[in-house]
């Protein structure tokens, strides 16, 4: 039995929708979830999703037509079905909903007018998406120089924001408008200047497959909880500088965090564990995985017995592992068997993130960048160097308080990094 598809209310203030384009033609089969048309509302251009099954028998509103919310835009049914009555019904309802065209954009959602162009007519000129208008009302304040520059360059001062006293447009504003590409034609400014993106289907690599399976399993079967601490890295920064100066080698913050994690894990064996249903295994060794991103995924080389190694040893080993990881030359025992993992996005300027646990481990540490920011010390605002660490814990193996204490210890070690070289 045929049914009507009506214009849905796509935003809470929408009263009218404009059919920008039909994605399906009369006679095509459509099913639930298909995008059948593109609609312009008062807020945005949106896709119109279909919830009916059948054949698109009749398009009531052609491309470019306007229709009030609730108005019938199309009829769906079985091929060959008689839909004359439905069409009449739809036309009648559309007619009765008509209002004065001039008011169609006004806040009178009750009875907007139907404005259907004849199907053969040329498509109406699309409204410029957000073409600048002469904007602010009244006199435009601009310096004489700015006025000259604008008229020489064919700019409409009404489209330029002024930064001078009282919003006066000055030379600088014209220059920055030009620099931002505003100087080209007023309309084309907003037109898409970028080459079109191409849709591509990429085969899933083996590595990606593994990542997908393991992470999905982890995220869906491990009850994660997250603990974030902010670490004062002032001394760590100093230590790093001092080590460099003393030509001890370039120890990274990551190395310090690996060492600090190893030391903390010794104190909190629950964090260095695996939940195996019947038992929780508290590992007898501390092996720390370091997530390294490589072209088609990521790999986690492992620093074995990291708690037994000095900062310098960790540093050298990590560097060497990372090089080979990037070359995909790691041996299996070099990237398996970790009991705890660290993931570092500090180099991307990330301020905070959380990671998915690498099963069967009980925790993973997400390392963000060191940020210069004002902090309060003894009631005074002073410059500080702070870094966020967020650990994800498996709640089956680790309790909240234990997680918190582990993080507190980690923070303490990093804030007193001398403890890392003792």
């Amino acid at each position: 039995m045929a049914t009507q598809i009506s214009m849905p209310k796509l935003s809470d203030t929408m009263s009218i929708g404009v059919i920008l384009d039909w994605r399906k033609n009369e006679g095509e089969t459509i099913s639930s979830g298909d995008i059948i048309a593109e609609v312009e509302t008062d807020k945005a251009n949106m896709e119109l999703e279909n919830f009916e099954e059948g054949t698109l028998l009749k398009i009531m509103i052609p491309k470019g037509g306007k229709v009030p919310v609730g108005g019938t835009i199309a009829i769906v049914g079985e091929p060959g079905e008689n839909i004359d009555d439905l069409i009449k019904e739809a036309e009648a309802s559309l007619q009765s909903a008509a209002v004065e065209p001039a008011k169609e954009e006004a806040a009178a959602p009750a009875a907007p007018k139907l404005d259907v162009p004849p199907p053969v007519a040329a498509p109406p000129v699309a409204p410029p998406v957000s073409a600048p208008t002469a904007g602010r009302s009244g006199r435009v304040k601009a310096s004489p120089l700015a006025k000259r520059m604008a008229s020489a360059k064919g700019l409409d001062l009404g489209t330029i924001l002024g930064s001078g006293p009282g919003g006066r447009i000055v030379k600088k504003d014209i220059e920055s408008f030009m620099a931002s590409g505003g100087g080209r034609s007023l309309i084309s400014t907003y037109a898409n200047q970028l080459p079109a993106l191409e849709q591509k289907d990429v085969p899933v690599s083996q590595m990606r497959q593994v990542i997908a399976t393991r992470l999905l399993q982890s995220k869906t079967s491990t009850p994660h909880f997250y603990v974030t601490v902010e670490v004062d890295m002032t001394k760590a920064v100093e230590l790093r500088g001092a080590l460099k100066e003393a030509s001890v080698g370039s120890v990274s913050y990551n190395d310090m965090i690996v060492r600090a994690s190893a030391l903390s894990l010794r104190q909190f064996p629950e964090v260095n564990s695996s939940f195996y249903g019947e038992i929780i295994r508290l590992h007898g060794e501390v092996h720390i995985g370091i997530a390294v991103s490589i072209p088609d995924g990521l790999i986690t080389p492992v620093v074995r017995n990291a708690d037994q190694k000095s900062l310098i040893d960790i540093s050298e080993e990590t560097k060497e592992l990372a090089v080979r990881a990037k070359e995909k030359k790691l041996k299996p025992d070099e990237y398996t068997g970790s009991t705890f993992t660290t993931s570092n996005m500090g180099m991307f300027g990330v301020e905070n993130f959380s990671a998915i646990i690498n099963p069967p481990e009980a925790a993973i540490l997400a390392i963000s960048s060191i940020v210069n920011k004002p902090v309060v010390v003894d009631g005074q605002v002073v410059p500080g160097k702070r870094m966020n660490l967020t650990a994800s814990f498996d709640h089956r193996a680790v309790d909240g308080a234990t997680g918190a204490r582990f993080m507190k210890e980690l923070k303490r070690l990093l804030e007193n990094p001398i403890l890392l070289i003792l």
């Binding site: 004489p144 120089l145 020489a152």
Partner: protein, 467 residues
Amino acid sequence: MSFQNFDVVIIGGGPGGYVAAIRAAQLGKSVAIVEKEKLGGTCLNWGCIPTKALLKSAEKFQSIQHSEEFGISVKDVSVDWSKVIGQSRTVSSQISGGVEFLMKKNKISHFAGLAKLTSPSTVEVNNDGKKVADLKGAQVIVATGAKPRRIPGIEFDGKKIISSKEAMILDKQPKSMLVMGGGAIGIEFAYFYNAFGTKVTQIEMLDQLLPAEDAEVSQTLGRSFKKQGIDLLVKTKVESVETTSKGVKVTVSDAKGSKVIEADIALVAIGVEANVAGLGIETLGVEMNKGFIKVDENFMTNVPGLYAIGDIAGPPWLAHVASHEGIVAVENMFGENKSGHGVDYDNVPNCVYCQPQVASIGLNEKAAKEKGHKVKVGKFPFQASGKAKAIGEPEGFVKLVFDEEYGELLGAQIIGTEATEMIAELGLARALEATAEDIFRTMHAHPTLAEAVMEASGAAYDQAIHI
């Protein structure tokens, strides 16, 4: 001693410090200002103001000498040196008193004494070696200014080798004087002493007086100085200074060789150095730049909450710059800079108050070309100005530099009487981005010297009427 707390504590009562203090008080803040000498700083006590009084004496004396051409004969003209100096000191102390009144009126706490920073937010005040106050400021501004720079190896003795400070209070007019330095201060003293009959030799290491000025302006000034009787030596270097029982023996050298010049007194006016000694900033780790305190665009040093303005914060070393920096610093630190304005270092007027006066703002022709501008230059000589002729001051010219494309006013240079007053119009024109046409079409009263500005803008586009 317990701390007295303020929203802002300002060290130094010069045009940087006292103006900042008044602005902060206007914003309803509690303000302390510490000054070791007299309020008003170098500017009011040993700089801008007293020198202008001295220069006026020189000008009056010169104009009396030239009064014949206006039909006035004056006989038995005599100069009472101590009164010349006295007048200058009186003006200074009157104005310094005025600043003291302004502090009271704005309820600013004035502490007399030497300030020392004991931390970025605390200031100890000592008077005669005794601690008189401990101040704590949520913000602290250092505005301790600068003092005359010495030439390495040539020490000031205050009698025969002197700085500008002594030069403005000499108890006897010297018969001869050697002025080292062709900057504003050296020029003003050279003019002043020469006008009263001292035999002046002025030495500049670079190739012109006012090395940063437009070459034509500097040449015009140099010619005028020579005509007035000053012995001007450019591209000349001071090698050594020896004091003798009579005065000084100065060895100078140029491309042709060296020679010895003798004079009663040598005035060293080669620039300034920062007043940082004993302030305590070294221990706070305050970052410096070429001997001056380094600040950001909010005038904050690398130590949060500690600010520096005026001469101490580096060039340009001018009173109006110090004051503007003080205002912007205060408005920014209290979040009151609603329009977000900064200090526009491209629009600083530079003035020299000798006769003929020199004033400039923005770029000169050479600098504009170096910056890649295609320029149009308009020049109007005071010779062609009715007013300048009428008052007997036909020396000099107005030169305006425009960017060819839109007629943007890039800079202005004026040499001539009242040049320093006329430059204000061009500062405003630049601030409001007036173009050549705007200036040309602005009606200027006739007859005025300022008409020359209008004419110069016309001249850039071959539309000047009177040339």
